[in-house]
Symmetry: D2
Subunit: 405 residues, 4 copies
C-alpha cells in the first residue's frame, strides 16, 4: 500500500473541498474552543431576512483557512519565501482569529461582555490553548499580534485584503444569496505579491480590488445594516440591557442557565481565568434559551422583547441620511408608551435612534498597495481610476430609528 | 403611483428569489408555528461532517413552496385546470407539510415523542391553525389528507416526485456541497403532466427522473447514512434514552428547561392539547441546552454521551453488508465497559448495532408514471432502460455497529 | 391525453431553460435570418483572451428573449397592462434586435459596411421578414422604432436597463468566466415598475442598479477593451482596410468567396435589396475563410496581418490615460518598417493609435429613473449615493497604441 | 521588485483560472497546430440543440491540462513520485492529446479522412512538433504511446478516469446546461491513488466514480446521441459522401477552398507529409464554407442537404430498441423520392438507418480499480454495490432511422 500522510477533506459548498493535513491543525480543529464556534452564528440575526444565513463561525474559519492555503501556494509560486513553520503558524492563526467571538458575534459584542473586544478574547484563548499545547502556538501568537518580522503574514490574517474579509464576503453572499457581494477571490489571490515584506497587489489586479471594495460596501447596506436585521439585533441588545437592569434592581426571576446567569449577575468586567472559562462555555444556544425563558418573565418590557424576537415580530426601523430629532423620538416614545401601556422610561426599550456607518476603505488604517510593473508602489486610493478615486474612501453614515409601530 | 399588490421577495441561494403574495400565505409564514421551524435544523447532526448543513426546516419549506409555485405555473401552461383556491391551498399545504417536526427532525422522531409520526403532528398543527384562522385551511387539509378529488394536488405534496423531495435533495446537496445530489429540478418540473387526475412525467423526462433516483440514492449513502452522521444521531438517541431511564429510577438532577422536562418526565404518550402546546414550544435549542446541562450530570453514561456529542468526540461507526454477530457485540461491550469503567449494561449506550436501509424507489408505494406520446402510461420501473430496470428498485440494507474505540 | 399547446424548451447554461410557445416566435426562430446569428460570434475576438467567449448572437438573442418573458410576467404581477399582442410583439422585437449584426459584430461594424449602423440593418431585416410574414410584425416594428404609445415596451428593448444589456452582461461574464461582470438580473427584473408608461426601478432596487453599472464598467475595461482583444480586433479592421485598398489599386488575387468579394469589390455604400441579400448571406465563416485565404496573398501587409490573427501572433497594445504623441508613433513606425522591411505607409497597418472610451452611464441619453415609495421620481445620478453620484457618469477615455514589437 | 517567473493565468468559466508556467507549455500553446484547435468545435453539431455548446477543442485541452495540474499536485501530496520532467511531459501530452482532431471532430472522423483515427493523427502531429522543438517532446511521446514505465502517467491521459473524459463531461455539461452530466471531478481527483504504478481510486471514492459513470451514460443519451444532434451529424456525413461521389463522376463544380478540395479530390488515403500539412491547415471553417458554397450547387441532393444543415431544417430522426426493417426503410425512401422528386438512389442520402450505442463502462477495456484500506484491489464492477454491479457494464444499443418527413 502507498504510504499516505493523514489527511482529511471537508466538503464546502463555497470552495469545493477544504484539506486538513498537519497534526497541529488537527489538534486545533478538534479542540472544544474551536468546536464551540459551531454554535455561534456567523451573521447573528441576518437569517430573519435572509433565511439561508445560518452558517457558523466554525465554517467561516475553515473557509478563511482554505484561502490561506491557497495564498501560501500562490505566494510561493512567486518565489516568496515561507517556511513550513511559518505556513503552519499562519494557518493556525487564521483558524483561531475568531475564537473570541461570543454569542451572536458582533450583535452582542459590546453589551454582554462590555469593554473586551473579540480580538482581545481571541488572543486570550489562543494563549490558553498554547499553554495546553505546550507552546506549539508560539509563532502563531507572534504573527497574530503583528510582532513577527515578515509583516505580510500578519496582513494575511488582519488587513484590508486579509483571508478573513475575503471569506466572509464570499460566504455571506453565498449563504444569503445576495449576488452583489460575490468577489473574484481566486483572482485576487493570484494577484497578491510581497514587496519589502508587505502584502501588495499586482497592477493587473486593480479591477478585482475595486470589485472587492464595491462588494463589501454593498453587503454592508444590503445585508449587515439592512433595516430589519438592524432592528432584530438591536432588540437582542435591548433584551440583555433590560435583563441587566432587572438584575440591578434585584429581580429574582432571571435565572436562564449558568453561563448567562454569570454574565448577567456576577461578571464584574474583568476577564479572569474563571470568567474566560464561563465565556468558553457559552454560545448562541444559551442566549436563545434565555430568550425562550424570559418570554414568560413577569417584566413586560423583557417578555415583549423576547416574544417579538422569537416569533419575528420585530420593531420597525427607518434609515435616513439626516439625524432624527429629539422631538421625533419623544413623539414616538409617547405613542408607544400609550399603546403598550408602558412608562416613558420603559418605552425607551422599543423606541430609540442611532447611527449606522460604513467606510468601504479606510485610508488612514491598513491600506491596499498596488505594485506596478515598473516597481512603483501606490495606494489604491491614488490610482488613476475614477470609481475608486474619491468616493470609495468617503465614510457613509446613516441614521436609524427603531420603533414599535 | 401604480397600484401594487402586497408582495415580498425573499433571497434564496438555491433558487434566487422566492415570492410571497397572498394574504393567507403571509398569515402562515408569520405564524409562530411556522417561525418555530427556524430553530429546527433540516439535517439534524449532518453538520458535524458537512459544516454547511445548518439550514433550517423553515428554509426547506419555503423552498418547497417555491417549487410548488413553479409547478402550478407549468401545469397551467399545459392546460391543467387549477383554480385560485386550489393554488393557494396546495401552496399552504406544502408550507406546512413539516410543521410537525420536532427537535432534530428524524433523528429523534421515534425517541422523544414515541408512536406519533411527524406527519400526524403536522396534521394536528394544521388543524389547530385552521381553527385560529376560522377555517381558512379547509381545502388545505383536504388536499393534505389526500381526500380531495384532484389527486395530483396531493401528489405534489406527498409522492415519489413531490416538491418536498425535490427541494430537500436540491437544498441538502447545496448546503452540504455534495454535488452528487444535484438534480435537474427545473427540467423535471417542466416534464410534469396530469393525466386522469394523476401526476405523471412526459417521456422526454425519463433521464431526469433517473437522475433524480440516482441522486437520492447517493445522498442516502454519502450523507444521510454517512457513518459519522449516523454515530452522532445515535448518540442523540442514546442521550434521550438514558435521560428517560434515569427519570424512571427517580433521578433528581435532570431538569433542563420546561419543554424537555415535560417530554422526559411527564408525557404519557397521548398527544393532548396540552402536550401539543409543549411540542410547539420546543425546538433544537431546548435539546442542545439540555445536552450542555447534562454534560455535568452525575450519571457517567449521560455526561459522557453529552460531552462527546457537544465536542464532536463521536462514537466510531462501521457499516457492512452482513449483520454483526452477538459475539462481536459482546466483545466490544466488554472492552468498552473495561476501558470506561462501566457496567456491561451501561456499555450498551456506547456499543450497539442496527440496520440502515434505503430503497431508492419503492414500487409498491407511490410510483412514478411515465406518459408516452402515444398516450400509454407505464411505471418507470418497467421502462426499457437498464439502469432503472432492476437495480434501482432493489432495497439496499447495511448493518452498522457503533462503539467507543 | 391532455391537450398540450406546442412548446419547446431549450437548455441554457445561463438561465436554465428557455421556453418558446407562440407560433410567431417559432417562425422567427426558424427563419434563416435568425439562424444566421448562429454563425456570428457575440464577442468577436475576445475568445483570443477568454477562450470560453465563443457564444453566438443567436444564443444572446434567445437569452434576451427569456429575460423579456420574465419581465412581462413581473410587470403583469404588478398590474401593468400588457396585452397578448403586445407581449408577442415585444418578444419578437427583442429576438430580432441584433438581426442586423454582420460578421464579428461591433469589431467590423464601421469597416466592412460603412455608414450603416447595425440597428438600421436590424430594422431593414425585420421589415423584410415582416413582408414575408404578411405583416405579422407590424406591432413589433412600431415598438422597435419607439413609435408605440406604451413607451416602456421600447425601453425593454433599448434603454439603459433593457433586456439586451442585461443578457449580454450576464452571458459575457458567464462565458468569459469574469465574475466581476455578474449582475443580479433577477433582482433587477423584480424591481422594475412602470409609471406614466415609462420603465422605472423601485427604490429597493438602487443597489442592484448600482451593481449593474459597476459591472458594466468593469466588463468594458477588463474584457471588451482589454488590450489584447483590442489589438486583435484592430488587426481585423486593418485586414479589411488593406483588402479594400488592394482592390482600389486593382489587385487580382483578392477573391475569397462571393459575399466578401461583393462587399470588398462591388458594394457602393447603398443598402439596396441586392446588397441586403448579400449581407444576409454573410457571417463570421466568410471572414475567417478570407483570412485563411489571404494568409497566402502576395501582398506582405495583408498576408502578415492574416497570418498573425489566425495564429494568435498579435500586435502589442498599450493603454494609458494620456494621448500618444506623433513622435512616439513615428518612431515606432520607423522601427517596424525597418524590422519588417516595409515602407512607412505599409507600417501604418501595424503601428497606429486611437481612443477607447466608456461612459458607464450617459445622463444625457436614456436614463435610469427611480420610483420612490412616496411617488417621487428621481434619476439615479441624483440619488443620495456617493458611489453613483459623481463618478459613474463621468466618461473614461483611454488612449491605445498598437505596434509590432 | 520580486523576481517573478513568467506565468499566465487564463479565465475559464468551468474551473476559474488555468495557470501556465513552463516554457515548453508556452511553446505548445502558442504553436499553430495548437491554435488550430480554436477553430474546431468540441461538440460538432450539438449546438443545434444546445445553443451554448460552441466551445472549442482548444478550450477542452486547456481544461484537461488544468485537471492534470491538479492531479499531479494531489498525487504528490500522497507521496507518489513524479519528477519535474515527468510533470511537464504529462502536461504536454494532455494538451496535445486532441491535436489530431479534424473538422467537426468525431462527426466526420471516418468520412473525411477514412482509415486514420484521430489518435494516430495526434501522434503524427506530436512527432512533427517534436522535430521542430528539437526533441523536447521525447518523454511526452513515450507517455502518450503508453511505453513509459510509470504506467499511471499514461492512464492520466488515456484511461477510464483520464483527464480528457473528466474535462469533457464537466465542460460539455457546463456549456450545454445539461446538469445531469455534472460530476464531482474535484472529489475524484482527491481520491486518486497510485499502486504498483497503476492509477486507482480510494474506497471512499466509489460513489463519485459511480456518479461519473452515470453522468457519462446520461450525456450519451441526452446529448451526444440526441436524435436531432444525430440527424445533423449524419447530414454532415452525407454531404461529404455526396461530394466525394460527385467528384468520382467528374463533377466540375465542387471547388470550395484548397484544403477541402484536396481531401475530396486528391487524397489517396495515405497520410504523407503533404497530406498532413493539408490536414493541419483545415478546420471547421473550411467545411462550413464548403457547405455555404455547395448550397448553390446544381446537384439537388448536395444542395438540399447543405441548405438544410445551414438553416437548421434537419432530417427527422427516430430511435428505438429494435432494428428497423428493410421494408420500413424502403417505404420511407419511396415516399421521400416521390416528395423530393429524386431517384431511389438519391433518396438514400435522406433516408437511412444505423446503430447508436454506448457502453458506460467497458470491463474488457481499461478498467477502474478500487484500492481498499486493507490493501485489496477490486475492479469497480465487482464492488458490492447494486447500481454499478450489473447494469452499468451492459452495453446499450439503439437503432435510428433518419428521414425526410
Amino acid at each position: 500500500m502507498p504510504s499516505v500522510t493523514k489527511r482529511k477533506i471537508i466538503n464546502d459548498p463555497v470552495y469545493g473541498f477544504i484539506t486538513i493535513q498537519h497534526p497541529l491543525i488537527f489538534q486545533i480543529v478538534e479542540h472544544p474552543f474551536y468546536q464551540r464556534l459551531r454554535r455561534i452564528n456567523q451573521m447573528a440575526m441576518a437569517h430573519l431576512v435572509y433565511p439561508g444565513a445560518v452558517h457558523t463561525r466554525l465554517h467561516h474559519s475553515l473557509g478563511a483557512y482554505h484561502l490561506m492555503c491557497n495564498a501560501v501556494t500562490e505566494l510561493r509560486a512567486k518565489d516568496v519565501e515561507i517556511t513550513t513553520a511559518e505556513e503552519i503558524a499562519v494557518k493556525a492563526a487564521i483558524l483561531l482569529h475568531d475564537a473570541g467571538h461570543g454569542p451572536f458575534s458582533h450583535a452582542l459584542e459590546e453589551t454582554l461582555i462590555p469593554s473586551v473586544h473579540h480580538e482581545e478574547l481571541s488572543l486570550l484563548i489562543i494563549e490558553k490553548m498554547n499553554r495546553e499545547l505546550n507552546g506549539a502556538l508560539g509563532l502563531t501568537l507572534s504573527i497574530f499580534k503583528g510582532e513577527y518580522k515578515k509583516h505580510f503574514l500578519h496582513q494575511l490574517i488582519s488587513g484590508q485584503l486579509d483571508m478573513d474579509r475575503m471569506d466572509y464576503l464570499m460566504r455571506d453572499s453565498f449563504f444569503t444569496g445576495v449576488s452583489e457581494g460575490v468577489i473574484g477571490y481566486d483572482r485576487i489571490l493570484k494577484m497578491l505579491v510581497v514587496h519589502n515584506q508587505e502584502l501588495m497587489v499586482e497592477e493587473k489586479g486593480i479591477y478585482s480590488v475595486e470589485k472587492f471594495l464595491v462588494a463589501r460596501r454593498q453587503m454592508y447596506w444590503q445585508v449587515y445594516l439592512h433595516k430589519t436585521v438592524l432592528a432584530a439585533e438591536k432588540m437582542l441588545v435591548k433584551i440583555i440591557e433590560r435583563a441587566k437592569y432587572l438584575n440591578s434592581i434585584n429581580d429574582r426571576n432571571l435565572s436562564a442557565g449558568p453561563a448567562i446567569d454569570f454574565f448577567i449577575q456576577s461578571y464584574d468586567g474583568k476577564m479572569t481565568n474563571q470568567s474566560l472559562e464561563w465565556f468558553c462555555a457559552m454560545d448562541d444556544t444559551d442566549i436563545t434559551f434565555a430568550i425562550k425563558t424570559w418570554r414568560h418573565h413577569p417584566d413586560k418590557v423583557l417578555s415583549l422583547l423576547c416574544d417579538g424576537l422569537l416569533n419575528r415580530r420585530l420593531l420597525k426601523c427607518d434609515l435616513r441620511s439626516t439625524a432624527f430629532t429629539s422631538e421625533e423620538l419623544a413623539t414616538k416614545r409617547q405613542q408607544t408608551a400609550a399603546s403598550l401601556k408602558l412608562s416613558t422610561e420603559e418605552a425607551q426599550y422599543f423606541v430609540f435612534t442611532g447611527e449606522a456607518s460604513n467606510t468601504t476603505y479606510k485610508i488612514a488604517d491598513e491600506n491596499i498597495k498596488i505594485l506596478f510593473k515598473n516597481g512603483a508602489v501606490t495606494d489604491i486610493s491614488h490610482v488613476d481610476n475614477p470609481l475608486i478615486h474619491q468616493t470609495i474612501s468617503a465614510p457613509v453614515k446613516k441614521f436609524y430609528i427603531c420603533s414599535f409601530n
